[in-house]
Amino acid sequence: MLHGVRNAAVFPFLAGVLVLLTCDPDQVGVNLTGFLKPPSHQAPSATAPASQTPGASQSGVPVRPTLTPPARPTLSVVVLDPAHGGTDPGARGGAGLHESDVVVALASNLRAALEKEGFQVIFTRQGNDNPSFDDRSTLANAQSGAIFVSLHAGSTGLPGTVRVYTCPDAPGNLAAPGGLLPWNRAQAAFLTLSRKLADIAQGELAKQFKGSPNSAPTAAIRQLRSIAAPAIAVELSSVSVDDRSELDRMLPGVADAVARAIASFKPVYDSWPPGGGG
């Protein structure tokens, strides 16, 4: 009896294996490597009968019909990331200045300047909470037509200077089979655009804040590496000043310079070819 049951269970299993072996994985919709497939681009089959393909040549040679690519959004959203918050004050200065407070003030200045330029602004944190790096990335990666600006105030550097950072180069081919990107290396595909944005912003800031570098440096910033959009980090120097008013005086100028840079970057973003982010 038990033997019979075992045989009965084996036949459907063998049949399933046969189906999987004989079917085209694309038709089944399963990628055996374990990755989700990217959205289908509906590439037409080159062997489709000419009679079924509009515009096919009379000679019977199959012709690929042209497909209109989906419209790409233009740059309209800026995700502002006031770093740290909550129990993490970030850099701390001798006069009791906390990075987490300074960057909130900078974010509010920058929001006003960006809204004047016509951008929609989204904050990664409200009040004094401290979302994780991945929570902030999740919010940013859900936006369409967006860039990411992380705001910092360091405890070193020449007071009154500002630096704009991007992630360093990533090695080799980053895409997994099927064109997928690992979450924690998402920024690698956008480095070229991020650098263009950073260079424009650094140039604007260097004009206004003497002693700031003329070109944007790179740093392995944890927050930026999982952002799937052009992303920069702006760091002011520094929370070590004796008087907070020195930093407060910088904020409107930094905000205006960064907003101008983003407005100048918009045409670059809007005309960038799809897939040319890296």
Binding site: F133, P171, L181
Partner: protein, 226 residues
């Protein structure tokens, strides 16, 4: 008190005030310097207790390049050459140069690493990855900020590159554990390129190159979002 005595007293007091005005700042500076020296010697003693310097006087003295903050350019590193005995064994050599780097330059303002941090261990993996395990103060005493953290990492990487050619990449551990960031900004989950001549990339290599990590999500395209 007769007027002549009073006059001499005023002159004496005025002279004392003048002398004090000249010497007080010098005295204050000297007190500060001696206090700093005392702190440094305490830190040195603590470091030696934690990790005695491995220097064998019979080893050949070689020119060693150590990278600290540049006195001329803000945010840049500058190489300082010193003659010191160095082992031929790459692991011992890495420990020797990193211990010297941690001890700091003559001018304490040019430090890139916290004075109370210590190198607990150094490993060299067969693929050329050097794993440097530092004590907690490397993360807790380092001034927080993108610039200061990246300079700390760069000073370690450039010093290893100049003196220990066997090290291709650098992985930094804090007290034996992988930390997410150094002091809140710079990513420590990956490795840093040390041998810049032979490397494809210039800095942090993706985390999964060294340790498999679970991805919290997946992105569909290596290009701009639709």
């Amino acid at each position: 008190m007769n007027p002549r005595w009073r006059q001499w007293l005023f002159i004496g007091l005025a002279a004392a005030v003048l002398v004090a005005a000249v010497f007080l700042p010098l005295l204050r500076r000297s007190v500060k310097r001696s206090a700093r020296l005392q702190v440094q010697s305490e830190e040195q003693a603590r470091r030696e207790l934690l990790h005695p310097t491995i220097v064998n006087s019979s080893e050949p003295r070689v020119k060693t390049s150590l990278f600290w903050a540049s006195p001329e350019q803000d945010g840049a590193l500058a190489a300082v050459s010193v003659q010191m005995p160095l082992s031929n064994d790459p692991v011992l050599r890495a420990k020797q140069v990193l211990d010297t780097l941690l001890a700091g330059p003559v001018d304490a303002d040019l430090r890139t690493l916290p004075p109370d941090a210590a190198l607990l261990e150094f490993y060299l993996l067969p693929d050329g990855t050097g794993v440097a395990d530092f004590s907690d103060p490397m993360a807790t005493s380092l001034p927080s900020g993108i610039e200061s953290e990246q300079m700390a990492v760069d000073s370690i990487a450039r010093t290893l590159e100049a003196n220990v050619p066997q090290v291709q990449r650098l992985k930094i551990l804090i007290h034996g554990q992988e930390a997410e960031t150094l002091a809140g900004h710079v990513d420590l989950t990956g490795t840093f390129v040390v041998n810049t001549k032979g490397a494809v990339a210039s800095a942090a290599v993706a985390p999964e190159m060294l340790t498999p990590t679970s991805a919290p999500g997946k992105l569909s395209q290596p290009e701009r979002k639709p």
